[in-house]
């Protein structure tokens, strides 16, 4: 049996990786739940963001947080234009999966072409900083990820709940024609939501660049677990991915500490199946 400190450290690192799952899942869940588009390219966008952060920090010497000033607006425009194209060609939910898979491969090749397939590690002022909390280590990059994930999830939740635009988005997601009869311009709201989701991917990219070694093939590493997180959290629910992400993160890292890393995916997908079964009964 591992020591208490080791278990507590595992729980903590589970919370941190879970926050990243939640942050990656947030944008995916919003576009999936509210626009009925399954955007696989969300992961590729996050890595594109990570590489851009790497480039600006490593190459141009920026502070990693300052890169958000460039990445967020660029990704907002990128996400909005992607959605404009999807709407222009009337892409169905299932086809969106195929098209965005294609986009993912294109972005992967692009990354490989620009930054090669070598592993890249970003040196930044934040990378090596870690606090000590009792017997536990708290690395600054991971803590930053948690803070950003919580802040963005809460912001998305509040925006959807308390602003006219957010409510209009929810209304349009449920019954677009009736929402339009009350003045909701679904088309421009969809562009806005897609832009915001892509900007979230950009922020997730920053977090990835801060905490992980970058390689183009890493794009595919988290797709499975983040899809599980999105489905457990509930499609279109802005808080769900974060909560589900942290639950899965903790259970994964405890599994790794108690048994072996190979068992970790089993835990996340068993959880997914249990939750889906439980939810099916409610319907």
């Amino acid at each position: 049996m591992p020591s208490f400190t080791l278990l507590a450290q595992s729980v903590l690192s589970g919370i941190f990786i879970g926050a990243l799952y939640g942050l990656l899942g947030l944008g995916l869940s919003l576009t999936w739940g509210m626009l009925r588009q399954i955007n696989l390219a969300h992961f590729a966008l996050a890595f594109l963001g990570a590489y851009l952060t790497f480039q600006l920090t490593h190459g141009a010497g920026w502070d990693p947080l300052a890169t958000l000033l460039v990445v967020v607006p660029c990704f907002f425009l990128l996400g909005a234009s992607m959605h404009w194209l999807f709407a222009r060609f009337a892409i169905t939910p299932f086809n969106s999966l195929l098209v965005t898979f294609g986009l993912t491969v294109i972005v992967e090749s692009l990354i490989q072409w620009i930054w090669t397939a070598d592993q890249r590690l970003m040196d930044s002022a934040y990378g090596a900083v870690r606090f000590k909390l009792g017997a536990l280590y708290v690395p600054l990059p991971e803590l930053l990820t948690l803070v950003l994930a919580v802040a963005l999830s809460l912001a998305a939740w509040a925006g959807l709940r308390y602003t006219d635009l957010g409510r209009a988005m929810r209304a349009a997601a449920e019954d677009a024609p009736i929402a339009a009869a009350f003045g909701v311009n679904e088309r421009s709201l969809s562009l806005l939501l897609s832009g915001i989701s892509a900007a979230f991917a950009g922020v997730a990219g920053l977090c990835i660049a801060l905490s992980f070694t970058l390689a183009p093939s890493q794009i595919y590493a988290w797709i499975g677990v983040v899809f599980a997180v999105v489905m457990i959290g509930g499609l279109g629910n802005p808080i769900g991915p974060l909560v589900a992400g942290i639950v899965i993160g903790i259970s994964e890292s405890l599994t790794m500490a108690l048994t072996s890393p190979a068992w970790a995916p089993l835990v996340s997908f068993s959880l997914l199946i249990v939750v889906l079964l439980a939810r099916a009964k409610k319907i």
Binding site: R167, A168, R170, A179, A180, A181, F182, G183, E186
Partner: protein, 235 residues
């Protein structure tokens, strides 16, 4: 105020309305009666911008609406209480009402508008923060009417407001509709409950198989043997 000039609406290749012309003056309460499948819902949805008009023109005070995007119709002061209510069931009652006042012209004085709706439908007061989907049928109809009132309409479109409601609530609904109209809002009412509709209306149209088959004062229509046979169950 509202004028329909020979409009045609089709679903795919199948025409649902043929050259329907109709007019509603300011403050009128006009009802459209007709059998199931005559195109009543199609007609009301076309006026709300929910259906594309293929031919003909819809004008509001002379302004052509036909080429507008669907979300622009409400800016002309048109609000709809759609068939089977179509509330945003996952949102609260208050959120449904406030969405009704989404158009910019309806946003000022939103709190007063909510208060006005609650005075018309006091039963909604305790349910304001409940999800709209959890309400009873009658209460949902109240929310649907309230949502439309929130838009501060000049023309209120009501599609079968009595459908699926208990008789006592139906009476209350007609009372409310009459009051709304008395407050200066023009009303276009589509109803299966022909006797009730003709009682409150100032003028009525008969819609049959996508065409206007008759028009006039309710008393005149009620005197027509065809109407009495077809809609009031007389032999």
């Amino acid at each position: 105020m509202l004028e329909l000039d020979r409009i045609q609406v089709s679903y795919g290749a199948a025409p649902a309305l043929w050259e329907v012309s109709l007019a509603i003056g300011a403050g009128e309460l006009v009802c459209v009666v007709g059998p199931n499948g005559a195109g009543k819902t199609t007609l009301i949805n076309a006026i709300a911008g929910l259906n594309r008009v293929r031919n003909g023109r819809i004008t509001m005070d002379g302004r052509d609406l036909t080429s507008l995007a669907p979300h622009c119709y409400c800016d002309e002061g048109i609000a709809i209480v759609p068939e089977s209510r179509r509330l945003f069931t996952g949102m609260t009652v208050l959120e449904n009402l406030e969405l009704g006042s989404y158009r910019l012209a309806a946003r000022p004085g939103r709190a007063q508008s909510v208060e006005r709706v609650l005075n018309v439908f006091p039963a909604l007061r305790e349910r304001l923060h409940a999800a709209a989907g959890t309400l009873s049928g009658g209460q949902q109809q109240m929310v649907a009417i309230g949502r439309a009132l929130m838009a501060k309409p000049r023309l209120l479109l009501l599609d079968e407001p009595s459908l699926g409601l208990a008789p006592s609530i139906v009476l209350e609904m007609f009372e409310v509709i009459r009051d709304i109209n008395a407050g200066g809002v023009a009303v276009l009412l589509v109803e299966q409950n022909v006797a009730m509709a003709l009682e409150v209306a100032t003028r009525a149209y008969v819609l049959e198989e996508g065409r206007i088959a008759g028009e006039g004062a309710p008393s005149a229509l009620l005197a027509t043997p065809h109407i009495r046979r077809a809609y009031l169950g007389e032999r």
